[in-house]
Point group: C2
Chain length 300, copies 2
C-alpha cells in the first residue's frame, strides 16, 4: 500500500508553521497543509541535478515523454530564494542542488520536508549527475550501489553537536536494479557499480591540476587503482554518501545515476567537446524517463 513519508524528527510535530528557507516555500499551517498537498501532493519522483539549466532541460524532456500537456516555459517555483531552481512536470519535480554534499544536503532536507507536508505517496528521489569515471570509457552511465567517502569507507560521516555520527551509505536495491534494467539495449553502456563521493573536486579526487597538490602522479594512480580494484568504484562524484545516507534514514527510496565525462585512469582534465558533453548528459535522462514510465505504469 502506498505510504506518506514519516520523518524521524519529533520536533516537526511541535512546529505550527514552517518556512523552507532555501526553497522560499512557506508552510503557514503545518496542521492543515491542504494548499501544499494541492500543489505538490501528486509528486512521485524528485529528480535532482547540479545545475538549474540541466534541470530545466530534464523538465522539458520529461514533459514531452510523459505527455504532460503544457506549452509554456516551465516556471522555477523557488526563484525568489535565489539559490535552487525547482520545476514541476506532472508527477515529477526537477530540482537543482549545486556542486557537492553541503549544498545538496540543504535542498534535500527541505525537499524531504516538502514531500512530508504534501503527503506525497511513495516518492522516489533520483540524482541525475555528471562524474569522473574510473576504468570505464567516457559516456558510461553508472548507477550507484554502495557509496564510499574519501577514506574509502562505505559510510557518510557528519558532525552533529560536536560529535561524529556515521551512517550507512547504500542506495535502494530495487531502484538500482530497475534503473540498470532501463539502460539495457542502448548504444551506450549502463552499469551498476560503487561510487566514491568527495568533498573536494581537486585534491579530494586525487587530481593533480588543482591550485594545490603535494602528491605525485604515481601516488594518484595507485589510489585510483585501489578504488577500482579493491572497492569496485567506477565513478567519482561529490554527493552519493550524503544523499544515500539521508534518504536511507528517512526511509525513502533513492537512486544516483551519473554519466562519466572522463576516465580518471587516463587523465584529470575534461576534454570532450560541448556537443559530446551535451549528448552524454542526456543519457541518464533517457534511462530515468523509462524508469518513471515503468513505475507509473505499474502503479496506475
Amino acid at each position: 500500500m502506498a505510504q506518506s513519508v514519516e520523518l524521524k524528527n519529533p520536533h516537526l510535530n511541535k512546529m505550527s508553521q514552517d518556512y523552507l528557507y532555501h526553497l522560499a516555500l512557506n508552510v503557514p499551517n503545518t496542521k492543515d497543509t491542504r494548499d501544499i498537498q494541492k500543489r505538490f501532493g501528486d509528486v512521485k519522483f524528485i529528480c535532482m541535478g547540479g545545475t538549474a539549466s540541466r534541470m530545466l532541460e530534464l523538465a522539458l524532456f520529461l514533459r514531452e515523454l510523459l505527455g504532460v500537456k503544457d506549452n509554456s516555459e516551465p516556471e522555477d517555483l523557488c526563484r525568489s530564494g535565489n539559490r535552487y531552481a525547482v520545476y514541476k512536470v506532472g508527477p515529477v519535480l526537477c530540482a537543482s542542488h549545486g556542486v557537492g554534499m553541503s549544498t545538496f544536503s540543504v535542498v534535500l532536507h527541505e525537499l524531504l520536508k516538502l514531500v512530508r507536508y504534501a503527503k506525497c505517496q511513495d516518492p522516489v528521489f533520483l540524482r541525475i549527475g555528471t562524474c569522473g569515471g574510473v576504468g570505464v570509457p567516457p559516456g558510461t552511465v553508472v548507477v550507484t550501489k554502495e557509496a564510499y567517502n574519501g577514506y574509502l569507507r562505505n559510510e557518510h560521516e557528519i558532525a552533529i553537536l560536536g560529535e561524529k555520527v556515521v551512517r550507512p551509505a547504500n542506495f535502494t536495491a530495487d531502484v538500482v536494479k530497475d534503473l540498470v534494467a532501463c539502460g539495457l539495449g542502448d548504444n551506450f553502456k549502463t552499469i551498476e557499480a560503487n561510487t566514491m563521493a568527495t568533498e573536494c573536486f581537486y585534491e579530494g579526487q586525487g587530481r593533480t591540476d588543482g591550485a594545490v597538490c603535494n602528491y605525485s602522479e604515481e601516488d594518484k594512480m595507485q589510489f585510483l587503482r585501489k578504488c577500482h580494484d579493491e572497492k569496485g568504484i567506477r565513478n567519482i562524484e561529490m554527493e552519493a554518501t550524503m544523499f544515500s545516507s539521508l534518504t536511507n534514514l528517512c526511509n525513502v527510496k533513492a537512486g544516483d545515476i551519473c554519466v562519466t565525462l572522463i576516465d580518471r585512469l587516463k587523465g584529470d582534465q575534461v576534454e570532450i567537446s560541448m556537443e559530446t558533453k551535451s549528448e552524454y548528459e542526456h543519457r541518464p535522462f533517457i534511462i530515468v524517463g523509462r524508469y518513471i514510465q515503468k513505475i507509473l505504469a505499474s502503479t496506475t
Copy 2:
C-alpha cells in the same frame, strides 16, 4: 613589493594548457598567458558570495562606488559553464560560490589558478556572506578570525588519497583588522569573532527543524552555548574552514565577512522580512567597499 601568486603545485608547470572547467575559462598556453593577463591582470580583489544575484548586486554597488565608468549590465564571464557567475568591475571580481565548502572549494581552486595565470599582484580573497549568529542580534556583521569545524576544532580536515589531512584555518590578521576598522561608526555593529563552519545546515548546525533530528532542544542549546562561551564563536556558516585553509596554504590574503540573519540562541527559523534581509545583506557590501577603497588608495 607587490607579488604574483605562486601556487604549491609543481604539476601546473608541466601542463601546456589548462581548462578551468567549472568557470568555462580556457588557458590555451600556460607558458604565454598574455591574453589572460590582459583580461584579468588588474584584478586585486576577488569577492565571493553564495548567490549569483547577490554578486551581481555587489558588482553594481562597487562599480558606482569605485567610479568605474560603464552603464551596461555587467556580463557573467562564466555563464557558459552554467555553474558559477563571475562579474568583473575594474580591479574586482565578484564570483558566486553556492552553499557550502564543497561547491566553494571547486570555484576557489579555479579562481586561484586564474589569478596565477593572470599574474595578479597581491590579490585579496574576500567572502561576503550571510550566516546564523550566536548570541548577537540579527544584522550584526561578523569578520572571522579563527574558523572552527563541526567538531569545534580550529582546523580544516580533508581526505586526500584516502588519508586524513588537517590544515590550519585562520584568516589573515591584517585583513581582519582592516575590515573591522572599516565597520566603525555605522548604525550597525561589526565585530571580530570566531566562526563555526559546517557541512550541513540542519543537523550540522544543531537545528531542530531539518528532515531528521534525534537530539533535544536542551542538547542543542548546550552545544550552541559551548560554541559561544568556550570557543568565542559568534556566527555559523558553511565555508570558513575550507576557505581559510586553502587560501592560507596558497599564501594569499583572505577575509570572511558575514551578516547574521538570526540569533541561534533564540531560534532556528529565519523570520526577518525580505526587506530587512536585503538591508542586512548590504551591510558587508558597505564595509568591503570601504576596505577596497582604502587598499587601492594605499597602493596607488
